[in-house]
């Protein structure tokens, strides 16, 4: 079933019409008017009486034994913050990179040690950083900077700028230089980027539209040494309501496109009104059509079939999982694609976790970091990095006490020090 913008418009406006001018409270310009009220009035929403109807919605992860890494009380009440099933020290996880680069704020990127959270280097910019990606050596990163929206009137300014950051073996800044390529046209919005594991190529996911004219999405792969590039484009409608396709997760900070270790295959999310899934593009093969020249590796959701919910992994044989909220990241060995999901039933119970799909079968193979709690999600789940097999990952998970970033392996979670809340763009 497809939902149109007009249906959303109508539903929300009918809901809003319940509030009328004659039943608004008077303005109170004293301290008791606002914050005290906010603290007092955390109440269920208008959807609460629909709990029974909502019970059919989205997700049933029936068995907690599947792997809640936060302790749960026996009566199904929410987990308590601090009850985390602590994972091993960060350094005990094989393959977790020693450093990462995070965009702390639009004018500042920082290099931090993964295990300690220590800041090793800071890079400032006058043009806002909006994305970052890293090679497999843990010492080579690319940041993209673009002034996208400014001032009282929205404008798109300037050409996207890309900077190569090289770190020393100890994580200190060795060099930071602007790249001559990619040379994207002015006004193009970069929506994702991925440096190949060998550091030789930069994949850029971009919206080709200019200001006020949303365009179709495309992926360009640049050879950094020469500036040569290839482009794969989509065709058809760019209307998000009736798309011929779209990429991107809608979660800033999450990696949106990713490479396999051989620096040949690129994974990207794709959706239209028929399905959602992750496609694989062989960047060494011929062709320039992003869809026709790629193949569907993982089908997250088929909207055309009845019972569209995907079936969970074997350990959850009778349970269902929901479509991903983040883009899928492919493991460097190409065997798995991992994505994060969040669902909320009747506005009260949130289930969150990361699904590891097999690229061999296209089916879910496991759920990592599964967690259920009473209440609404405090934000968006995020996925930053997966190891070579997709069994260890770094992501932002949701808990009743907020968002936490850490290393996840099965049911175990190890929070990363020095991170409060959600990171902006970040790359390991």
């Amino acid at each position: 079933m497809s939902i149109s913008a007009d249906q959303v418009r109508a539903a929300t406006r009918i809901a809003a019409a319940v509030i009328t001018a004659d039943n608004l409270p008077p303005l109170r310009l004293d301290e008791s008017a606002g914050r005290q009220g906010l603290a007092r009035r955390i109440r269920p929403a208008w959807f609460a009486p629909l709990a029974a109807a909502a019970a059919v919605v989205v997700i049933v992860v029936g068995s907690v034994a599947v792997g809640s890494w936060l302790a749960r009380s026996g009566n199904g009440q929410s987990s308590k913050p601090g009850a985390v099933r602590q994972g091993a020290a960060v350094g005990a996880y094989a393959g977790v990179p020693a450093y990462y680069v995070a965009v702390d704020n639009p004018s500042l990127a920082v290099v931090r040690a993964t295990a300690t959270g220590a800041t090793l280097a800071t890079i400032t910019t006058r043009t806002p950083f909006v994305g970052v990606t890293g090679a497999a050596d843990d010492q080579t990163f690319v940041l993209d900077a673009q002034r996208q929206v400014v001032g009282g009137t929205v404008h798109w300014l300037g050409q996207p700028a890309f900077y190569l950051l090289r770190l020393s073996a100890s994580g200190a800044e060795e060099s930071f230089t602007r790249l001559a390529s990619p040379a994207l046209p002015e006004g193009i919005a970069v929506t994702g980027l991925a440096l190949s594991p060998d550091g030789s190529k930069l994949a850029v996911e971009a919206d080709s539209g200019k200001y006020g004219q949303p365009g179709l999405l495309e992926i360009r792969v640049y050879t950094l040494a020469t500036g040569a590039f290839r482009t794969w484009s989509t065709h058809g409608s760019d209307d998000p309501v009736d798309p011929s396709g779209f990429t991107g997760s809608g979660v800033d900070g999450s990696q949106t496109i990713s490479w396999t270790a051989d620096s040949r295959t690129l994974a990207f999310d794709w959706g239209n009104q028929s399905y959602l899934g992750v496609r694989l593009l062989d960047t060494t093969a011929s062709g320039d059509d992003l869809i026709a020249d790629s193949r569907l590796a993982v089908l997250e959701m088929n909207f055309k079939s009845q019972g569209a919910f995907p079936v969970g992994p074997p350990s959850m044989s009778k349970d269902r999982i929901s479509t991903c909220v983040t883009d899928g990241i492919i493991s460097s060995d190409g065997s798995a694609i991992v994505c994060g999901y969040t669902t909320n039933m009747d506005g009260r119970e949130t289930t969150t976790g990361f699904i590891r799909y097999s690229t061999t079968t296209g089916k879910p193979a496991a759920v990592l970091g599964l967690y259920q709690f009473q209440g609404q999600p405090p934000g968006d789940i995020c996925l930053y990095w997966v190891n070579s097999t997709g069994k260890i990952l770094i992501g932002a998970i949701l808990t009743p006490s907020g968002i936490r970033v850490g290393v996840i392996s099965g049911e175990r979670f190890t929070p990363l020090p020095g991170i409060a809340g959600l990171l902006g763009a970040a790359a390991w």
Binding site: I3, I14, P25, A45, V56, G250, M301, A308, T350
Partner: protein, 169 residues
């Protein structure tokens, strides 16, 4: 002017803004939260904040924009608080009444429920794009995210709504 005079003038200005914008802002908060008392509190908080900062505003013409941003921030705070609540109990809710049900209709009631079940960013994107009819650029600016993110969040949200409505049917 004495400080009391300044405060009095600010009070008049903010009260006038309340009369002009409280309805639309409360409706926005209500669509975001689905909870009328919380929506009213968020709006009160936004106006109180404006009142306190009135003398420091560089351009009072920007006050409506400031208020909308404050309301959206307040809604996000409420949603985060909800996630931390352990023992939420049902209160008297607008949609529980037969009158409200008749007003909205079952199909829209289900759609509203599905919208509320979306991840926060997807929900906010839909509200800004289709309830407020903001452009992709304006939505990106309001949420502090990229335009591409707005587009993909919108698409994913609509796809998720279709999925959920299919389950209802």
């Amino acid at each position: 002017m004495t400080s009391a005079d300044v405060a009095q003038a600010a009070g008049r200005e903010v009260t006038a803004l309340y009369e002009a914008h409280a309805l639309s802002l409360t409706r926005l908060a209500y669509v975001m939260l689905g909870d009328r008392p919380a929506a009213e509190d968020v709006v009160q908080e936004a106006f109180l904040g404006l009142y306190k900062r009135w003398s420091r505003l560089r351009d009072t013409a920007n006050a409506p924009g400031y208020l909308r941003t404050s309301v959206l921030n307040g809604c996000r705070m409420v949603l985060r608080s909800r996630a931390r609540r352990d023992d939420r109990t049902a209160g008297e809710l607008p949609w529980e009444s037969a009158e409200a049900t008749a007003l909205v209709g079952e199909e829209y009631r289900r759609l509203l429920l599905a919208i509320q079940a979306l991840p926060p960013r997807q929900r906010e994107t839909l509200v800004l794009r289709y309830y407020l009819d903001l452009s992709e650029e304006e939505t990106a600016r309001s949420m502090g995210i990229r335009r591409g993110t707005v587009k993909s969040a919108t698409s994913r949200a609509l796809a998720a709504l279709g999925q959920r409505m299919q389950e209802y049917s």
